[in-house]
Protein backbone atom coordinates (compact mmCIF):
# COMPACT_ATOMS: atom_id res chain seq x y z
CA UNK A 1 0.00 0.00 0.00
CA UNK A 2 2.70 2.34 1.10
CA UNK A 3 4.86 1.35 -1.83
CA UNK A 4 1.98 1.87 -4.22
CA UNK A 5 1.35 5.42 -3.07
CA UNK A 6 5.09 6.13 -3.23
CA UNK A 7 5.16 5.07 -6.81
CA UNK A 8 2.02 7.07 -7.49
CA UNK A 9 3.57 10.23 -6.18
CA UNK A 10 6.69 9.54 -8.18
CA UNK A 11 4.66 9.19 -11.33
CA UNK A 12 2.76 12.32 -10.44
CA UNK A 13 6.07 14.14 -10.06
CA UNK A 14 7.16 12.91 -13.45
CA UNK A 15 3.95 14.07 -15.08
CA UNK A 16 4.29 17.42 -13.40
CA UNK A 17 7.82 17.74 -14.72
CA UNK A 18 6.77 16.91 -18.22
CA UNK A 19 3.84 19.33 -18.04
CA UNK A 20 5.95 22.08 -16.62
CA UNK A 21 9.57 21.50 -17.57
CA UNK A 22 10.65 24.84 -16.13
CA UNK A 23 10.90 23.79 -12.51
CA UNK A 24 14.51 23.48 -11.46
CA UNK A 25 14.12 19.80 -10.58
CA UNK A 26 12.86 19.04 -14.07
CA UNK A 27 15.63 21.03 -15.68
CA UNK A 28 18.25 19.28 -13.61
CA UNK A 29 16.78 15.95 -14.62
CA UNK A 30 16.76 16.89 -18.30
CA UNK A 31 20.34 18.10 -18.08
CA UNK A 32 21.46 14.91 -16.41
CA UNK A 33 19.71 12.85 -19.03
CA UNK A 34 21.15 15.00 -21.83
CA UNK A 35 24.72 14.84 -20.57
CA UNK A 36 24.34 11.10 -20.22
CA UNK A 37 23.15 10.89 -23.79
CA UNK A 38 26.08 12.98 -25.06
CA UNK A 39 28.63 10.87 -23.23
CA UNK A 40 26.98 7.77 -24.66
CA UNK A 41 27.34 9.26 -28.16
CA UNK A 42 31.01 10.03 -27.51
CA UNK A 43 31.45 6.42 -26.41
CA UNK A 44 29.86 5.27 -29.67
CA UNK A 45 32.56 7.21 -31.50
CA UNK A 46 35.51 6.10 -29.44
CA UNK A 47 34.85 2.51 -28.44
CA UNK A 48 34.78 1.09 -32.00
CA UNK A 49 38.14 2.73 -32.74
CA UNK A 50 39.76 1.04 -29.79
CA UNK A 51 37.95 -2.20 -30.57
CA UNK A 52 39.21 -2.17 -34.17
CA UNK A 53 42.80 -1.53 -33.13
CA UNK A 54 42.79 -4.13 -30.36
CA UNK A 55 41.03 -6.71 -32.54
CA UNK A 56 43.48 -6.35 -35.42
CA UNK A 57 46.35 -6.49 -32.98
CA UNK A 58 45.12 -9.71 -31.37
CA UNK A 59 44.28 -11.39 -34.67
CA UNK A 60 47.37 -10.16 -36.46
CA UNK A 61 50.09 -10.87 -33.92
CA UNK A 62 50.23 -14.65 -34.61
CA UNK A 63 51.06 -13.94 -38.26
CA UNK A 64 54.03 -11.75 -37.48
CA UNK A 65 57.33 -13.56 -37.84
CA UNK A 66 60.73 -12.89 -39.32
CA UNK A 67 59.71 -14.74 -42.45
CA UNK A 68 56.48 -12.74 -42.78
CA UNK A 69 58.30 -9.42 -42.50
CA UNK A 70 61.33 -10.28 -44.61
CA UNK A 71 60.10 -12.86 -47.12
CA UNK A 72 58.46 -12.71 -50.51
CA UNK A 73 54.88 -13.89 -51.06
CA UNK A 74 54.67 -17.51 -52.18
CA UNK A 75 51.97 -19.86 -53.48
CA UNK A 76 49.88 -17.10 -55.03
CA UNK A 77 50.43 -14.89 -51.96
CA UNK A 78 48.81 -17.47 -49.69
CA UNK A 79 52.10 -18.10 -47.93
CA UNK A 80 55.38 -16.40 -47.28
CA UNK A 81 55.90 -12.77 -46.38
CA UNK A 82 55.02 -9.27 -47.44
CA UNK A 83 58.46 -7.70 -47.74
CA UNK A 84 57.86 -6.16 -51.21
CA UNK A 85 54.73 -4.42 -49.96
CA UNK A 86 56.50 -3.06 -46.87
CA UNK A 87 59.46 -1.82 -48.91
CA UNK A 88 57.09 -0.33 -51.51
CA UNK A 89 55.12 1.64 -48.96
CA UNK A 90 58.38 2.84 -47.42
CA UNK A 91 59.66 4.06 -50.81
CA UNK A 92 56.36 5.71 -51.64
CA UNK A 93 56.26 7.54 -48.33
CA UNK A 94 59.85 8.66 -48.81
CA UNK A 95 59.17 9.76 -52.39
CA UNK A 96 56.10 11.69 -51.28
CA UNK A 97 58.18 13.44 -48.63
CA UNK A 98 60.81 14.48 -51.19
CA UNK A 99 58.25 16.48 -53.17
CA UNK A 100 55.65 17.55 -50.67
CA UNK A 101 57.84 18.66 -47.75
CA UNK A 102 59.81 21.46 -49.48
CA UNK A 103 56.80 22.59 -51.46
CA UNK A 104 54.45 22.47 -48.48
CA UNK A 105 56.79 24.29 -46.13
CA UNK A 106 57.57 26.85 -48.84
CA UNK A 107 53.88 27.52 -49.33
CA UNK A 108 53.37 27.78 -45.57
CA UNK A 109 56.24 30.29 -45.29
CA UNK A 110 54.72 32.31 -48.11
CA UNK A 111 51.29 32.39 -46.50
CA UNK A 112 52.50 33.20 -43.02
CA UNK A 113 55.48 35.49 -43.70
CA UNK A 114 55.10 37.12 -47.10
CA UNK A 115 51.51 37.17 -48.32
CA UNK A 116 49.32 40.12 -47.55
CA UNK A 117 45.61 39.51 -47.10
CA UNK A 118 44.36 40.19 -50.58
CA UNK A 119 42.25 38.49 -53.20
CA UNK A 120 45.08 36.23 -54.39
CA UNK A 121 45.86 35.00 -50.91
CA UNK A 122 42.22 34.22 -50.40
CA UNK A 123 42.24 32.30 -53.68
CA UNK A 124 45.25 30.31 -52.49
CA UNK A 125 43.39 29.42 -49.31
CA UNK A 126 40.32 28.31 -51.24
CA UNK A 127 42.57 26.21 -53.49
CA UNK A 128 44.14 24.55 -50.44
CA UNK A 129 40.71 23.76 -48.97
CA UNK A 130 39.71 22.32 -52.33
CA UNK A 131 42.82 20.18 -52.63
CA UNK A 132 42.01 18.77 -49.21
CA UNK A 133 38.50 17.89 -50.34
CA UNK A 134 39.15 16.27 -53.70
CA UNK A 135 38.27 12.55 -53.55
CA UNK A 136 41.32 10.32 -53.41
CA UNK A 137 40.27 8.36 -56.49
CA UNK A 138 40.16 11.61 -58.46
CA UNK A 139 43.80 12.12 -57.50
CA UNK A 140 44.38 8.70 -58.95
CA UNK A 141 42.74 9.73 -62.23
CA UNK A 142 44.75 12.92 -62.32
CA UNK A 143 47.99 11.07 -61.64
CA UNK A 144 47.15 8.62 -64.40
CA UNK A 145 46.38 11.42 -66.84
CA UNK A 146 49.31 13.72 -66.04
CA UNK A 147 52.18 11.64 -64.68
CA UNK A 148 51.64 8.16 -66.07
CA UNK A 149 50.41 9.01 -69.56
CA UNK A 150 51.13 12.65 -70.41
CA UNK A 151 54.61 12.83 -68.85
CA UNK A 152 55.11 9.20 -69.79
CA UNK A 153 56.47 8.12 -66.42
CA UNK A 154 54.55 4.85 -66.62
CA UNK A 155 53.16 3.14 -63.55
CA UNK A 156 56.11 3.93 -61.33
CA UNK A 157 57.14 4.95 -57.84
CA UNK A 158 57.85 8.40 -59.25
CA UNK A 159 54.33 8.83 -60.67
CA UNK A 160 52.77 7.46 -57.47
CA UNK A 161 54.87 9.67 -55.20
CA UNK A 162 54.06 12.77 -57.22
CA UNK A 163 50.34 11.99 -57.06
CA UNK A 164 50.46 11.31 -53.32
CA UNK A 165 52.50 14.42 -52.64
CA UNK A 166 49.89 16.71 -54.20
CA UNK A 167 47.30 14.97 -52.07
CA UNK A 168 49.28 15.50 -48.85
CA UNK A 169 50.15 19.11 -49.65
CA UNK A 170 47.08 20.72 -47.98
CA UNK A 171 47.71 18.90 -44.67
CA UNK A 172 51.35 19.98 -44.61
CA UNK A 173 50.65 23.56 -45.66
CA UNK A 174 47.90 24.21 -43.15
CA UNK A 175 49.65 22.67 -40.13
CA UNK A 176 53.00 24.25 -41.00
CA UNK A 177 51.38 27.64 -41.48
CA UNK A 178 49.71 27.37 -38.12
CA UNK A 179 53.05 26.50 -36.53
CA UNK A 180 54.79 29.46 -38.21
CA UNK A 181 52.04 31.85 -37.19
CA UNK A 182 52.24 30.81 -33.58
CA UNK A 183 55.80 32.17 -33.35
CA UNK A 184 55.34 35.53 -31.61
CA UNK A 185 55.69 38.66 -33.70
CA UNK A 186 58.36 40.02 -31.34
CA UNK A 187 60.82 37.33 -32.49
CA UNK A 188 60.61 38.73 -36.02
CA UNK A 189 60.86 42.34 -34.92
CA UNK A 190 63.92 41.73 -32.77
CA UNK A 191 65.69 39.72 -35.44
CA UNK A 192 65.09 42.32 -38.14
CA UNK A 193 66.12 45.13 -35.81
CA UNK A 194 69.42 43.34 -35.17
CA UNK A 195 70.16 43.62 -38.88
CA UNK A 196 69.08 40.21 -40.14
CA UNK A 197 67.37 40.04 -43.51
CA UNK A 198 63.91 38.64 -43.85
CA UNK A 199 65.09 35.26 -45.10
CA UNK A 200 67.75 35.02 -42.38
CA UNK A 201 65.04 35.73 -39.82
CA UNK A 202 62.85 33.02 -41.29
CA UNK A 203 65.59 30.43 -41.60
CA UNK A 204 67.43 30.97 -38.35
CA UNK A 205 64.64 32.05 -36.01
CA UNK A 206 61.15 31.30 -37.17
CA UNK A 207 61.69 27.92 -38.82
CA UNK A 208 63.70 26.75 -35.82
CA UNK A 209 61.02 27.82 -33.35
CA UNK A 210 58.23 26.35 -35.45
CA UNK A 211 60.05 23.10 -36.20
CA UNK A 212 58.08 20.76 -33.91
CA UNK A 213 54.77 22.03 -35.29
CA UNK A 214 55.98 21.70 -38.87
CA UNK A 215 57.29 18.20 -38.19
CA UNK A 216 53.91 17.20 -36.76
CA UNK A 217 52.19 18.40 -39.91
CA UNK A 218 54.65 16.64 -42.19
CA UNK A 219 54.26 13.32 -40.39
CA UNK A 220 50.46 13.58 -40.34
CA UNK A 221 50.50 14.29 -44.08
CA UNK A 222 52.80 11.38 -44.82
CA UNK A 223 50.69 9.14 -42.61
CA UNK A 224 47.79 9.82 -44.92
CA UNK A 225 49.94 9.06 -47.95
CA UNK A 226 51.14 5.78 -46.47
CA UNK A 227 47.61 4.53 -45.85
CA UNK A 228 45.91 5.59 -49.07
CA UNK A 229 45.02 3.10 -51.76
CA UNK A 230 42.90 4.85 -54.37
CA UNK A 231 45.57 7.31 -55.63
CA UNK A 232 48.08 4.53 -56.20
CA UNK A 233 45.69 2.10 -57.89
CA UNK A 234 46.50 3.26 -61.42
CA UNK A 235 49.74 5.12 -60.82
CA UNK A 236 52.11 2.67 -59.17
CA UNK A 237 50.60 -0.33 -57.46
CA UNK A 238 51.39 -3.80 -58.71
CA UNK A 239 49.31 -6.87 -57.92
CA UNK A 240 52.36 -9.06 -57.41
CA UNK A 241 56.04 -8.54 -58.13
CA UNK A 242 58.67 -11.19 -57.54
CA UNK A 243 61.42 -8.64 -56.84
CA UNK A 244 61.97 -5.38 -55.05
CA UNK A 245 61.81 -2.16 -57.08
CA UNK A 246 65.24 -1.06 -58.26
CA UNK A 247 64.60 2.42 -59.58
CA UNK A 248 62.03 5.18 -59.13
CA UNK A 249 60.64 4.22 -62.51
CA UNK A 250 59.66 0.71 -61.37
CA UNK A 251 56.19 -0.22 -60.23
CA UNK A 252 55.93 -1.61 -56.73
CA UNK A 253 53.64 -3.43 -54.36
CA UNK A 254 52.31 -1.38 -51.45
CA UNK A 255 50.77 -2.35 -48.12
CA UNK A 256 47.30 -0.80 -48.49
CA UNK A 257 46.87 -2.08 -52.02
CA UNK A 258 48.18 -5.49 -50.98
CA UNK A 259 45.59 -5.66 -48.20
CA UNK A 260 42.90 -4.75 -50.71
CA UNK A 261 44.10 -7.44 -53.11
CA UNK A 262 44.33 -10.24 -50.57
CA UNK A 263 40.99 -9.41 -48.97
CA UNK A 264 38.97 -9.17 -52.20
CA UNK A 265 40.81 -10.56 -55.20
CA UNK A 266 42.43 -13.78 -54.02
CA UNK A 267 40.06 -16.63 -53.16
CA UNK A 268 41.00 -18.94 -50.32
CA UNK A 269 43.33 -16.45 -48.70
CA UNK A 270 44.34 -17.53 -45.18
CA UNK A 271 42.82 -15.08 -42.73
CA UNK A 272 46.00 -15.01 -40.67
CA UNK A 273 47.95 -13.36 -43.50
CA UNK A 274 45.19 -10.82 -44.06
CA UNK A 275 45.23 -9.79 -40.41
CA UNK A 276 49.02 -9.80 -40.36
CA UNK A 277 49.10 -7.40 -43.32
CA UNK A 278 46.45 -5.18 -41.72
CA UNK A 279 48.47 -5.12 -38.52
CA UNK A 280 51.69 -4.09 -40.28
CA UNK A 281 49.82 -1.33 -42.12
CA UNK A 282 48.20 -0.10 -38.91
CA UNK A 283 51.57 -0.22 -37.17
CA UNK A 284 53.05 1.98 -39.91
CA UNK A 285 50.21 4.49 -39.86
CA UNK A 286 49.43 4.64 -36.16
CA UNK A 287 53.13 4.67 -35.36
CA UNK A 288 53.52 7.82 -37.43
CA UNK A 289 50.42 9.26 -35.78
CA UNK A 290 51.85 8.54 -32.33
CA UNK A 291 55.21 10.13 -33.20
CA UNK A 292 53.44 13.23 -34.51
CA UNK A 293 51.24 13.66 -31.46
CA UNK A 294 54.18 13.06 -29.12
CA UNK A 295 56.26 15.73 -30.84
CA UNK A 296 53.35 18.13 -30.64
CA UNK A 297 52.56 17.63 -26.98
CA UNK A 298 56.24 17.73 -25.97
CA UNK A 299 56.76 20.97 -27.85
CA UNK A 300 53.67 22.46 -26.23
CA UNK A 301 54.86 21.51 -22.78
CA UNK A 302 58.31 22.98 -23.38
CA UNK A 303 57.17 26.19 -25.02
CA UNK A 304 57.98 29.27 -23.01
CA UNK A 305 56.19 31.95 -24.96
Amino acid sequence: MNRWSGMQSKVRNWIAMIRNPNTSAARGMIQQFGFGLLSLVAMITVVPILAVIVYIFIQGIPAISVEFLSGFPREGMRQGGILPAIVGTFYLTLGTAVFSVPLGIGAAIYLSEYASENRWTRLIRIAIINLAGIPSVVYGLFGLGLFVLFLNLGTSILAGSLTLSIMTLPVIISTAEEALRSVPQSFRVVSISLGATRWQTIRKIILVEALPGILTGVILGLERAAGETAPILFTVAAFFLPQLPRSPLDATMALPYHLFVISTQVPGMPIKIQFGTALVLLFFVLGMNLIATTIRSRARARRQW
Partner: protein, 298 residues
Protein backbone atom coordinates in the same frame (compact mmCIF):
# COMPACT_ATOMS: atom_id res chain seq x y z
CA UNK B 1 79.54 39.08 -50.69
CA UNK B 2 76.69 41.44 -49.98
CA UNK B 3 75.48 41.26 -53.55
CA UNK B 4 75.74 37.51 -53.41
CA UNK B 5 73.58 37.41 -50.31
CA UNK B 6 70.90 39.61 -51.83
CA UNK B 7 70.93 37.50 -54.93
CA UNK B 8 70.27 34.27 -53.08
CA UNK B 9 67.67 35.98 -50.92
CA UNK B 10 65.94 37.20 -54.07
CA UNK B 11 65.98 33.72 -55.52
CA UNK B 12 64.64 32.11 -52.36
CA UNK B 13 61.88 34.67 -52.04
CA UNK B 14 60.83 33.86 -55.60
CA UNK B 15 60.85 30.13 -54.89
CA UNK B 16 58.75 30.61 -51.79
CA UNK B 17 56.29 32.71 -53.70
CA UNK B 18 55.98 30.07 -56.41
CA UNK B 19 55.34 27.33 -53.87
CA UNK B 20 52.79 29.63 -52.28
CA UNK B 21 50.86 29.70 -55.50
CA UNK B 22 51.36 25.97 -56.15
CA UNK B 23 48.01 25.05 -54.63
CA UNK B 24 46.17 27.14 -57.23
CA UNK B 25 48.32 25.65 -59.99
CA UNK B 26 47.55 22.11 -58.88
CA UNK B 27 43.80 22.63 -58.61
CA UNK B 28 43.95 24.11 -62.12
CA UNK B 29 46.05 21.23 -63.43
CA UNK B 30 43.72 18.63 -61.93
CA UNK B 31 40.73 20.32 -63.49
CA UNK B 32 42.40 20.64 -66.90
CA UNK B 33 43.50 17.01 -67.03
CA UNK B 34 40.16 15.65 -65.87
CA UNK B 35 38.29 17.72 -68.45
CA UNK B 36 40.79 16.90 -71.18
CA UNK B 37 40.25 13.17 -70.71
CA UNK B 38 36.61 13.37 -69.67
CA UNK B 39 35.17 15.81 -72.16
CA UNK B 40 35.37 13.43 -75.16
CA UNK B 41 32.80 11.26 -73.35
CA UNK B 42 30.21 13.91 -74.14
CA UNK B 43 31.03 13.63 -77.83
CA UNK B 44 31.18 9.84 -77.94
CA UNK B 45 28.09 9.03 -75.89
CA UNK B 46 24.84 10.89 -76.56
CA UNK B 47 23.83 12.92 -73.53
CA UNK B 48 20.52 11.07 -73.25
CA UNK B 49 22.37 7.80 -72.87
CA UNK B 50 24.94 9.22 -70.45
CA UNK B 51 22.13 10.29 -68.14
CA UNK B 52 20.56 6.86 -68.55
CA UNK B 53 19.71 4.22 -66.01
CA UNK B 54 21.82 1.38 -67.35
CA UNK B 55 25.52 0.99 -66.59
CA UNK B 56 26.87 -1.94 -68.54
CA UNK B 57 30.10 -0.84 -70.24
CA UNK B 58 30.74 -4.12 -72.03
CA UNK B 59 27.69 -3.50 -74.17
CA UNK B 60 28.36 0.22 -74.44
CA UNK B 61 25.70 1.21 -71.92
CA UNK B 62 27.15 4.18 -70.10
CA UNK B 63 24.21 5.51 -68.06
CA UNK B 64 25.72 7.05 -64.93
CA UNK B 65 22.46 7.50 -62.99
CA UNK B 66 22.77 4.20 -61.09
CA UNK B 67 26.24 5.26 -59.94
CA UNK B 68 25.09 8.74 -58.92
CA UNK B 69 22.17 7.12 -57.11
CA UNK B 70 24.52 4.68 -55.41
CA UNK B 71 26.74 7.50 -54.18
CA UNK B 72 23.70 9.42 -53.00
CA UNK B 73 22.08 6.63 -51.03
CA UNK B 74 25.32 5.56 -49.37
CA UNK B 75 26.12 9.18 -48.50
CA UNK B 76 22.64 9.89 -47.13
CA UNK B 77 22.89 6.75 -45.03
CA UNK B 78 26.31 7.80 -43.78
CA UNK B 79 25.03 11.29 -42.94
CA UNK B 80 22.21 9.79 -40.86
CA UNK B 81 24.82 8.12 -38.65
CA UNK B 82 27.59 10.63 -38.78
CA UNK B 83 25.78 13.95 -38.21
CA UNK B 84 24.12 13.17 -34.87
CA UNK B 85 27.05 11.14 -33.57
CA UNK B 86 29.66 13.60 -34.81
CA UNK B 87 27.96 16.69 -33.44
CA UNK B 88 27.07 14.92 -30.21
CA UNK B 89 30.70 13.94 -29.76
CA UNK B 90 31.85 17.48 -30.54
CA UNK B 91 29.38 18.86 -27.98
CA UNK B 92 30.54 16.35 -25.40
CA UNK B 93 34.21 17.14 -25.98
CA UNK B 94 33.83 20.88 -26.01
CA UNK B 95 31.00 21.52 -23.53
CA UNK B 96 30.53 18.61 -21.16
CA UNK B 97 33.64 16.52 -20.66
CA UNK B 98 36.24 17.33 -18.02
CA UNK B 99 39.68 18.29 -19.24
CA UNK B 100 41.31 14.90 -18.79
CA UNK B 101 38.60 13.20 -20.84
CA UNK B 102 39.06 15.73 -23.61
CA UNK B 103 42.79 15.05 -23.68
CA UNK B 104 42.04 11.37 -24.26
CA UNK B 105 39.11 11.76 -26.65
CA UNK B 106 40.62 14.23 -29.09
CA UNK B 107 43.69 12.17 -30.09
CA UNK B 108 41.49 9.07 -30.32
CA UNK B 109 39.11 10.74 -32.74
CA UNK B 110 42.10 11.98 -34.73
CA UNK B 111 43.34 8.41 -34.80
CA UNK B 112 40.06 7.29 -36.35
CA UNK B 113 40.67 9.88 -39.05
CA UNK B 114 44.05 8.31 -39.68
CA UNK B 115 42.84 4.71 -39.99
CA UNK B 116 43.42 3.66 -43.62
CA UNK B 117 40.10 3.18 -45.39
CA UNK B 118 41.24 -0.15 -46.75
CA UNK B 119 41.56 -1.49 -43.19
CA UNK B 120 37.97 -0.47 -42.46
CA UNK B 121 36.87 -2.10 -45.70
CA UNK B 122 38.70 -5.27 -44.75
CA UNK B 123 36.93 -5.42 -41.38
CA UNK B 124 33.69 -4.55 -43.14
CA UNK B 125 33.93 -7.60 -45.35
CA UNK B 126 35.03 -9.85 -42.52
CA UNK B 127 32.82 -8.73 -39.65
CA UNK B 128 30.22 -6.10 -40.46
CA UNK B 129 28.77 -7.67 -43.61
CA UNK B 130 28.25 -11.17 -42.17
CA UNK B 131 26.77 -9.58 -39.05
CA UNK B 132 24.30 -7.49 -41.06
CA UNK B 133 23.36 -10.49 -43.18
CA UNK B 134 22.47 -12.58 -40.13
CA UNK B 135 20.99 -9.76 -38.10
CA UNK B 136 18.72 -8.38 -40.83
CA UNK B 137 18.25 -11.69 -42.62
CA UNK B 138 19.46 -10.43 -46.00
CA UNK B 139 20.71 -12.47 -48.95
CA UNK B 140 24.04 -10.64 -48.68
CA UNK B 141 25.53 -8.29 -46.13
CA UNK B 142 27.48 -6.36 -48.76
CA UNK B 143 24.90 -3.59 -49.11
CA UNK B 144 24.56 0.17 -49.15
CA UNK B 145 23.91 -0.05 -45.41
CA UNK B 146 27.30 -1.60 -44.71
CA UNK B 147 28.90 1.16 -46.78
CA UNK B 148 26.88 3.81 -44.96
CA UNK B 149 27.92 2.59 -41.52
CA UNK B 150 31.62 2.55 -42.40
CA UNK B 151 31.45 5.85 -44.29
CA UNK B 152 29.71 7.35 -41.28
CA UNK B 153 32.68 6.25 -39.22
CA UNK B 154 35.06 7.79 -41.72
CA UNK B 155 33.32 11.16 -41.79
CA UNK B 156 32.83 11.42 -38.02
CA UNK B 157 36.39 12.66 -37.33
CA UNK B 158 36.00 15.46 -39.89
CA UNK B 159 32.68 16.53 -38.39
CA UNK B 160 33.95 16.31 -34.82
CA UNK B 161 37.11 18.33 -35.37
CA UNK B 162 35.53 21.13 -37.43
CA UNK B 163 32.44 21.37 -35.21
CA UNK B 164 34.55 21.30 -32.07
CA UNK B 165 36.64 24.20 -33.39
CA UNK B 166 33.45 26.14 -34.09
CA UNK B 167 32.04 25.48 -30.61
CA UNK B 168 35.36 26.40 -29.06
CA UNK B 169 35.32 29.72 -30.89
CA UNK B 170 32.06 30.82 -29.24
CA UNK B 171 33.10 33.49 -26.72
CA UNK B 172 32.98 32.48 -23.07
CA UNK B 173 30.90 35.51 -22.26
CA UNK B 174 27.94 34.08 -24.20
CA UNK B 175 27.87 31.04 -21.95
CA UNK B 176 28.43 33.06 -18.79
CA UNK B 177 25.59 35.39 -19.70
CA UNK B 178 23.20 32.49 -20.29
CA UNK B 179 24.13 30.82 -17.00
CA UNK B 180 23.79 34.14 -15.17
CA UNK B 181 20.28 34.51 -16.57
CA UNK B 182 19.38 31.22 -14.93
CA UNK B 183 19.72 28.77 -17.80
CA UNK B 184 21.12 25.34 -17.05
CA UNK B 185 24.27 24.22 -18.87
CA UNK B 186 22.10 21.96 -20.98
CA UNK B 187 19.85 24.84 -22.03
CA UNK B 188 22.91 27.00 -22.68
CA UNK B 189 24.30 24.36 -25.04
CA UNK B 190 21.13 24.09 -27.10
CA UNK B 191 19.87 27.66 -27.05
CA UNK B 192 23.10 29.67 -26.98
CA UNK B 193 26.31 27.85 -27.84
CA UNK B 194 25.10 25.64 -30.66
CA UNK B 195 23.11 28.42 -32.42
CA UNK B 196 26.09 30.77 -32.07
CA UNK B 197 28.35 28.18 -33.69
CA UNK B 198 25.82 27.12 -36.29
CA UNK B 199 27.67 28.22 -39.40
CA UNK B 200 30.79 26.40 -38.27
CA UNK B 201 28.72 23.34 -37.44
CA UNK B 202 27.10 23.48 -40.87
CA UNK B 203 30.56 23.66 -42.41
CA UNK B 204 31.50 20.59 -40.42
CA UNK B 205 28.47 18.72 -41.75
CA UNK B 206 29.24 19.74 -45.33
CA UNK B 207 32.88 18.73 -45.10
CA UNK B 208 31.87 15.44 -43.53
CA UNK B 209 29.45 14.75 -46.37
CA UNK B 210 32.15 15.70 -48.87
CA UNK B 211 34.45 13.19 -47.23
CA UNK B 212 31.76 10.51 -47.50
CA UNK B 213 31.01 11.13 -51.18
CA UNK B 214 34.68 10.96 -52.09
CA UNK B 215 35.58 7.86 -50.12
CA UNK B 216 36.57 5.03 -52.41
CA UNK B 217 38.15 1.87 -51.06
CA UNK B 218 35.75 1.17 -48.23
CA UNK B 219 32.64 1.50 -50.38
CA UNK B 220 34.20 -0.50 -53.17
CA UNK B 221 34.89 -3.34 -50.76
CA UNK B 222 31.62 -3.46 -48.84
CA UNK B 223 28.73 -2.20 -50.98
CA UNK B 224 28.48 -5.25 -53.20
CA UNK B 225 29.26 -3.50 -56.49
CA UNK B 226 25.93 -3.82 -58.27
CA UNK B 227 25.29 -0.87 -60.58
CA UNK B 228 21.50 -0.83 -60.27
CA UNK B 229 19.51 2.35 -59.81
CA UNK B 230 18.55 2.44 -56.12
CA UNK B 231 14.94 3.52 -55.56
CA UNK B 232 13.47 4.21 -52.15
CA UNK B 233 14.85 3.58 -48.71
CA UNK B 234 14.69 -0.15 -49.27
CA UNK B 235 17.74 0.23 -51.49
CA UNK B 236 19.80 0.66 -48.32
CA UNK B 237 19.53 -3.09 -47.88
CA UNK B 238 20.59 -3.94 -51.40
CA UNK B 239 23.99 -3.93 -53.10
CA UNK B 240 24.82 -0.67 -54.88
CA UNK B 241 27.84 0.84 -56.53
CA UNK B 242 29.10 4.39 -56.11
CA UNK B 243 30.82 6.68 -58.60
CA UNK B 244 34.14 6.44 -56.81
CA UNK B 245 34.03 2.64 -56.63
CA UNK B 246 33.24 2.42 -60.33
CA UNK B 247 36.30 4.42 -61.27
CA UNK B 248 38.52 2.43 -58.94
CA UNK B 249 37.17 -0.93 -60.03
CA UNK B 250 37.12 -0.38 -63.78
CA UNK B 251 39.92 2.03 -64.61
CA UNK B 252 42.54 -0.68 -64.31
CA UNK B 253 40.95 -2.73 -67.03
CA UNK B 254 40.08 -0.23 -69.76
CA UNK B 255 42.12 0.69 -72.80
CA UNK B 256 43.53 4.23 -72.67
CA UNK B 257 41.54 6.50 -74.93
CA UNK B 258 38.51 4.22 -75.25
CA UNK B 259 34.97 5.49 -74.68
CA UNK B 260 34.81 3.66 -71.37
CA UNK B 261 38.04 5.39 -70.30
CA UNK B 262 36.61 8.79 -71.22
CA UNK B 263 33.36 8.11 -69.37
CA UNK B 264 35.27 7.14 -66.22
CA UNK B 265 37.15 10.44 -66.43
CA UNK B 266 33.82 12.17 -66.96
CA UNK B 267 32.62 10.65 -63.67
CA UNK B 268 35.83 12.03 -62.18
CA UNK B 269 34.85 15.50 -63.43
CA UNK B 270 31.45 15.12 -61.77
CA UNK B 271 33.10 14.15 -58.47
CA UNK B 272 35.55 17.04 -58.78
CA UNK B 273 32.69 19.48 -59.32
CA UNK B 274 30.76 18.13 -56.33
CA UNK B 275 33.77 18.53 -54.06
CA UNK B 276 34.46 21.98 -55.54
CA UNK B 277 30.93 23.19 -54.75
CA UNK B 278 31.02 21.74 -51.24
CA UNK B 279 34.41 23.18 -50.41
CA UNK B 280 33.91 26.61 -51.94
CA UNK B 281 30.65 26.95 -50.03
CA UNK B 282 32.32 25.75 -46.86
CA UNK B 283 35.21 28.16 -47.26
CA UNK B 284 32.82 31.02 -48.00
CA UNK B 285 31.18 30.32 -44.64
CA UNK B 286 34.58 30.26 -42.97
CA UNK B 287 35.52 33.62 -44.47
CA UNK B 288 32.17 35.12 -43.55
CA UNK B 289 32.52 34.16 -39.91
CA UNK B 290 35.95 35.75 -39.84
CA UNK B 291 34.68 38.94 -41.40
CA UNK B 292 31.79 39.16 -38.99
CA UNK B 293 33.94 38.72 -35.92
CA UNK B 294 36.39 41.28 -37.26
CA UNK B 295 33.53 43.71 -37.71
CA UNK B 296 32.32 43.13 -34.19
CA UNK B 297 35.78 43.62 -32.76
CA UNK B 298 36.52 46.87 -34.56
Amino acid sequence: MKINLNWSEFLITRLIKVSGYSAIIFVGLIFVFLVMEGFPALLEVPLGKLIGTRWYPIEEHFGILPLVGGSLIVTIGAAMFAIPIGIGTALFISEVSPRWARDILKPLVEMLGGLPSVVLGFLGILILAPFLRRFLDLPTGLTALAGSILLGGISIPTIVSVAEDALDAVPRSYRDAAIALGATRWQTIWRVTLPAARSGVLTAIMLGIGRAIGETMTVMMVTGNAPVLPIGLNALFQPVRTMTATIAAEMGEVANGSTHYHVLFFIGVVLFMISLVINVTASAVVFRIKNRSERILS
